[in-house]
Amino acid sequence: MARAAKKGFKLIPEGQRKCVWMEAGVVSYKTCTLNFDCPTCEYDQALRNKVARAQAAQEAKFGRTWAQEMLRLPASQRVCRYMISGHVDYKLCPSAYECGSCDYDQQMQERMEPARLPVGVIKEIMEFKVAEGFYFHEGHAWARSEHGGRVRVGVSDFIQHLLGDLASVQLPDIGHPVVQGEPVVMLRKNGHAVKLRAPVSGVVSHINQRIKEKPALINKEPYEEGWLFIVEPSKLKKNLKKLKTGEDAEGFIEKERERLIEVMSDDLRVAADGGPIDTDVFKELSGERWESVVGEFVG
């Protein structure tokens, strides 16, 4: 509070923090309403646009972004945004306010990652699990509303089986806008790739870094530790209408299962009646066949 009182023109109310733009002196008064989640902050985006426009028009006001302003300060005063936010007591910026590529920022993101809601009942549609309370997109991504209005995103257990051992998972950048139904995550397996579509629209606020190092988490816990990213949704109500949950989700997986049997049968002129799908056969899917089978369901 002492710092706030010294620099601000107005006192910052108890429990609130100065926006980075105010801290840098670019704007005279603005508090943070988004817990320093600058990449998803509309105010931050608007001011950055304003700076860009001002620079193009060579106007003096709004000549610099908050980061550029901060860089003009002596090194000893270039405080990290997590110090401004109060998450750490003392930290100077280690990477010229390029938060997107800053290792420290990434560590902090992970530490501040919102806690996952526990998974409740898991229903089994034959070989495939469907978690209750999750909303499924036709492209097999799931969305789940969590505390603070955020939406966590992952993939269905059904598609996890088809994906098998992934070589890599390319997640969107934090701050990246995503649109329901549009490709957002690239999943790769021995030189071939498929694109997972976003179940909701919004801005990416967190990504699951652990997935990048260990894609097998997707297979092991598709509804838990295998989540992909978190979105600050923009049209959640409208988006949810297009997703399936509860019995609808179970019916959806049931139908997808039937479609899978058809897709996997190399001879459609033979009808078969029998027991569980041998999910081991998906492990052997590779190359173009993998791409086309998975693509059939995520595409």
Partner: protein, 211 residues
Amino acid sequence: MALKLRAVDKKKVPAFDHLLICAHGGRIDLEVLKRTSALLNHLIGLPSRLSSLIVPLESAYDEEKGQYNARDILKSTSGLVTPGCLRVIVLTEEDIYIPVFKYVFGAADLPGSCAVVSLKRLRQEFYKNPPDLRLFYKRVDKTVLHELGHTFGLTHCRNRHCVMYSSTRIVDTDFKSSMFCHHCFNLLADHLNEERLVCLKSRHDDEFPYK
């Protein structure tokens, strides 16, 4: 009673329209074959014959799985189709599968001439229960009718009571009836008509009481 292996001259097979019931391997119980033949005579209105030809075991065996590939059985069965033989139904005591499934109760050409039904998982003994012959025959009837339906072009029905409902587990077979629902019955009658075969007995609505 086991069916005795006997090489038969194909020409001796009757030339008029009929269904052929045939064994895969030599382990089959003659009583099951006879009952199946009687069932089809009664229900489809086509004469059915027991074939003393035996579909050879070896070619369809998958050593890793310890099961027989139903698709391969169907392939070797197609050689048994002679003039006048409309459909061949193969019964086997062996466990069969088709890639993607861990096991199958039956498989059939869709549409086509051949169907195969495994008796192995239709027996209560398989589930470590005491033998129950009545239940076993019910299961055989349902599975044979289902696969025969496929050969006439019928696909799976969403009505859990209809015999064309796909059985994933044996409880599905036990739950469904041995009758075709109205929709499937009409389709089957159409297919039989198309092939200018003896028509199915027309059926009153109350004979299929399930919705």
